[in-house]
């Protein structure tokens, strides 16, 4: 049984549906990457999983339970975490307070999780008293990921984690994502840097017009000439 499974999910923001039957299934050991052209419904898929828009058809199951249209305050305690693409840190709050907010749903002692996050992002420990709004783009992305990891998720969803970062930081963020995965957190992410992200993806999903077009391991998709021609720019 998969950690998360989307079966023919249909949904949108009230008007015409943006998702027209998306199927996704990944395990906790996987790094799943969703790629596709603009408007394909990549980010919308993540938002649909996280209850941020209305799912009108199909089902979403997570860790064996149906979670279709559940809200984040129910999903976070169950082990699902989400890093939005933009505005993903509390700019007026310190780095440490940002992390604490990630642990809001936890009533147990989370100091070991915070130590784990600081170990993964040592620069955040140095800047823990600084307002997150004063950090660079790459460091903000670390705060955003750290915040999402504070709930000890089984699955971490990231919406274009490399957007707006310089190439050096893109590699660093991708390396971090792989490391988080080796520590036992499943990853489901949307990426514009499709070729780069698929290279380390154990599950790749190519979406177009709100539907699956190709599914396979990342390297398989890169090797597929049709995927390469239509979606990876040759």
């Amino acid at each position: 049984m998969s950690l998360i499974e989307l079966k023919h999910v249909v949904g949108g923001y009230g008007g015409a549906p943006i998702l027209n039957g998306v199927d996704i299934a990944i395990e906790q050991s996987d790094i799943g990457v969703i790629v596709g052209p603009n408007g394909a419904g990549k980010s919308t898929t993540l938002k649909a999983i996280f209850g941020l828009l209305k799912v009108t058809g199909g089902t979403i199951t997570f860790a064996g339970e149906e979670i279709t249209n559940s809200l984040p305050d129910r999903l976070v305690p169950r082990g699902l975490s989400f890093v939005p693409q933009e505005k993903n840190v509390f700019t007026s709050m310190s780095v440490e307070e940002n992390l604490e907010m990630g642990a809001f749903t936890r009533r147990d002692d989370f100091s070991d999780t915070m130590a784990w996050v600081y170990q993964m992002f040592p620069v955040l420990k140095e800047k823990r008293r600084q307002p997150a709004g004063e950090l660079s783009g790459g460091q903000r992305q670390m705060v955003a990921m750290g915040r999402a990891l504070m709930s000890k998720p089984k699955l971490l969803m990231l919406d274009e984690p490399s957007a707006g970062l310089s190439p050096r930081y893109v590699i660093e963020i991708f390396e971090t994502i792989v490391r988080v995965n080796t520590e036992g957190v499943g990853i489901l992410m949307v990426e514009q840097n499709a070729r780069q992200a698929l290279a380390f993806a154990s599950r790749g999903f190519v979406l177009a017009n709100g539907q699956n077009r190709f599914t396979g391991t990342g390297p398989e998709l890169i090797a597929d000439p049709e995927v390469a021609r239509s979606f990876l720019g040759g």
């Binding site: 509390f90 007026s92 709050m93 907010m101 809001f104």
Partner: protein
């Protein structure tokens, strides 16, 4: 030295008193704006309502024969604050929550709060009439005079017992609020939601709970501000409606959504108003002895006549918005 003491009595003490009330009111407005993104126009009337609750409790305490060294109004204040907090939650649930559930725009909520204003004022007039009441009908309002002849003043330093207690209550409330916002899990969640409501939701923060806590704090502080205003002057149905505009100015000047900004804005406007209406002749009179005949000081030399005191808040508001549009503490600009 007499002039200095006069200045302290007229400006410093009144400024602190007025500033405390403005600050406590503005905190509520700024918190509600930060969390719910609308201008809660009925906040002044929540202050008046709180004062009437305290007044009723004080009457009950007097009827029960409870006599204490502190004014009864202060004694019953904690209970009144609890009741006011519950009523604030009720007002939200009855009037604002249904609109939010339908995705109403902030301007719709603003209009709804004007409706709540009219309703609260109407209810108060229905039960209490349009007259004025005093907390000190059955007990004396103690006036504290500190002899300052030691520093060569012929005037004593004068303030009332309620004014002294008001400053103490305000300091306690501000310190408690500060600790709540910076140390407690819920207080931090409140700042998080004011900072970025979408991300707060994504983090799993129970936003409905944060909204409730906001109303509890805003309602309780409004009650404290209204009661203390009534203890300082008199209690009437339009007690705080008359000062809701300077309170809004204080919240905006401080930076909407910024609790510390509201405190700073409250005291800034409070002091500015008392300074603006202060009669400088009283302090500068000794100069008459050295000034030539044609330059004698007039009998009143105030920047603004007392009846135009309200304009001061707006002058500060306009200047702040021109120089620093998001307020002193960089609040929300919407």
């Amino acid at each position: 030295m007499t002039e200095l003491i006069f200045f302290i009595n007229q400006v410093v003490i009144s400024g602190v008193v007025l500033g405390s009330i403005y600050a406590l009111g503005a905190i509520g407005i700024t918190l509600i704006f930060g969390i719910l993104r609308f201008a809660h126009f009925a906040h002044g009337d929540m202050m008046t309502m709180g004062a009437f609750i305290a007044f009723l409790l004080a009457l009950a305490a007097a009827a029960l024969g409870i006599v204490t060294p502190v004014p009864t109004g202060f004694l019953v204040l904690p209970i009144a604050m609890v009741i006011a907090a519950v009523l604030a939650l009720g007002i939200d649930k009855g009037f604002y929550a249904p609109l939010r559930a339908r995705g109403a725009k902030p301007v719709t909520l603003l209009i709804a709060s004007i409706g709540v204003t009219l309703m609260i004022q109407g209810l108060i007039r229905l039960f209490f009439g349009a007259g004025t009441y005093s907390f000190f009908e059955n007990e004396p309002k103690e006036i504290i005079r500190i002899d300052t002849s030691a520093i060569g003043s012929t005037r004593p330093l004068v303030f009332t017992e309620p004014q002294l207690l008001m400053v103490i209550v305000t300091i306690a409330a501000v310190v408690a609020l500060h600790l709540f916002l910076t140390r407690s899990r819920l207080g931090k969640a409140m700042r998080a939601m004011a900072d970025n409501a979408d991300l707060a939701q994504v983090s799993g923060i129970n936003t409905a709970l944060v909204v409730r806590v906001t109303w509890i704090i805003a309602g309780a502080l409004a009650c404290a501000a209204g009661t203390m205003l009534a203890l300082d002057v008199t209690l009437k149905p339009d007690l705080a409606f008359n000062i809701v505009l300077p309170i809004f100015a204080a919240a905006i000047v401080g930076g909407l959504g910024q609790a510390y900004g509201a405190i700073a804005g409250g005291f800034l406007i409070g002091f500015a108003e008392t300074l603006a209406v202060f009669n400088w002749t009283m302090v500068l009179r000794p100069l008459n002895a050295v000034l030539p005949e044609w330059l004698q000081l007039p009998s009143t030399l105030a920047l603004v006549p007392t009846e135009y005191k309200l304009t001061v808040a707006f002058v500060i508001l306009v200047v702040t918005l021109l120089v620093r549009p998001t307020g002193i503490f960089k609040g929300a600009s919407t």
